[in-house]
Symmetry: C2
């Protein structure tokens, strides 16, 4: 795959150039894979702390997973089938000592050495919440009231090169997960859409809540997206950053009993739990703040600086 | 590759089982890929903060990179050639819509779908410091005194499945990097080996500094390791965790002008800079604390709790 010009607009590439020039983002040579300055990270960390404090005050327990997930887990969730174009699968060396010599020679001259690589039992994590469902299922039936988990800011991977600074191939998603009785899960998703809107207002961001769908692949995928949209299973909190349309900076997803069915998540009465997750795009929220208030956080509105503990 | 029984000893697998039973680590189904409890993360974060404070007090500037690196960068550093057995390369979908259907069907039944995957221009980051050398080189010649960068705790990948809880396939390495005049770099590595020994003492860990070498691959690799060892280019700070030998929890690496040559890192007088890096294995230090002081941090020695800001 190559970068498609259609995947970015001129004000997006201008913002990217501005962020590079300011040293806020650092180029690596691959679109959508960037380093971050201390200032960028500080803003991101303060947004993460604000979300974490809201979650902790509501009883969330933290669980942290790495940016790599067993291939079997993603196969079981249907991710490989639904989003083949976004998948990152991990390959490793698959040869004898002699092959390593050939591979070394080819790599040194940037020639193709893929024939010596074989698929491993791991993949890149595409959404922060996937590892938590089998982990919670293994504990046995849920207690009344279910569970609320803060997954922190985990690196997630999507294979979609773009020159839009808000569309990364690797970025941090702060996910909150609720696994409980259906009515509790539905109310929780509603509550968090309101908490997020309120937080965005306090950060001086003009956010709007929209009904949305995931970028399912192909013809089969268009049907899945239409159903998801009709059932209002995905809401997005969008903010104008750059480009013709506002960018989704948070999402609020209700899975009904889909993950409970896959992983055997049960309530104490033996019925299936429902699940929902809320994801905050940490880089996107940071970019929204920079695009809205300017590249120098010292000059941001006092109320925003105070909310983030920057003053 | 399958897990080799020889890669772990019985007290290592016992410690792993104990950490699973305590909920400190969470199994995912792949050896060396684990979730962490809130307590595990809290300890890790406090160790990171202690290292970060020492670095910041000595003028380090923070730069953060993701756990994915351009393939070209790792090819240029020689990593693919030197450590083919540890490499994680990222593959993505490489087919038409019809292939996606076949891939979906095979993935759903956990059959082989690797033929539809092609190598991308990205790899998993194997050591936290690799992205920083080309990034600093791009800024132009270094000012007198060079630069000191704190890379934070970045996820790094090594393809070596093991049942030793201290040998992960994905873990966080907190790296500090110095790029400067040769004598400054040499003194800095010495200073940090002493700072780290002192920190470990304050944490109640019995650490020893050892001359070491990297796990270079094959026959060619044995020669490289012997040279590295003879030139004392790698020191490790080892602590007994579990197993027949103590575990490297930090390393202090002097690259002479190798990275400067690859990336064109120059001093203001046009001569080549030298580079060194110090890496703290965050999970290993956390495990060393748990193995030394017990699984309940509430019951750790008061001095250790105070040093980590836990009391």
């Amino acid at each position: 795959m190559t970068v498609q010009a259609s995947s970015s607009s001129s004000d997006q590439t201008e913002l990217l150039a501005e962020l590079f020039a300011a040293g806020m983002l650092i180029e690596t040579g691959v679109p959508g894979v960037y380093g971050h300055s201390d200032t960028f990270e500080l803003i991101r960390e303060r947004v993460a702390a604000a979300v974490g404090a809201l979650a902790s005050a509501r009883g969330a327990a933290r669980l942290t997973f790495p940016p790599v997930i067993p291939r079997r887990t993603l196969e079981s969730t249907g991710y490989v089938g639904n989003f083949p174009h976004l998948v990152g699968s991990i390959f490793g060396f698959h040869g004898a000592e002699g092959d390593a010599v050939t591979q070394r020679e080819r790599a040194a001259t940037h020639e193709d050495w893929s024939e010596f690589q074989g698929q491993t039992d791991m993949m890149l994590l595409p959404a922060a919440c996937y590892p938590v469902y089998p982990a919670v299922a293994k504990r046995g039936p849920l207690k009344s009231g279910g569970t609320f988990i803060d997954m922190g800011g985990t690196w997630v991977f999507r294979h979609e090169p773009s020159l839009d600074p808000a569309r990364r191939q690797i970025f941090r998603q702060h996910e909150l997960v609720r696994i409980a009785e259906p009515e509790g899960v539905i109310a929780w998703r509603r509550e968090w859409s309101e908490l997020a809107l309120q937080l965005f207002r306090e950060l001086g961001l003009r956010g709007e809540l929209e009904n949305a769908s995931d970028p399912f692949f192909g013809r089969h995928g268009r049907l899945l997206a239409a159903n998801q949209s009709a059932d209002e299973l995905k809401w997005e909190l969008v903010v104008q950053i750059a480009g013709p349309k506002p960018t989704a900076c948070a999402s609020f997803n209700y899975h009904v009993d889909r993950f409970a069915e896959t992983w055997g998540l049960e309530l104490s009465d033996g019925t299936r739990a429902h699940t929902a997750c809320v994801g905050f795009g940490q880089e996107r929220i940071t970019l929204a703040l920079l695009a809205t208030h300017g590249l120098d956080p010292q000059r941001w509105p006092a109320a925003v600086r105070t909310r983030l503990g920057l003053s």
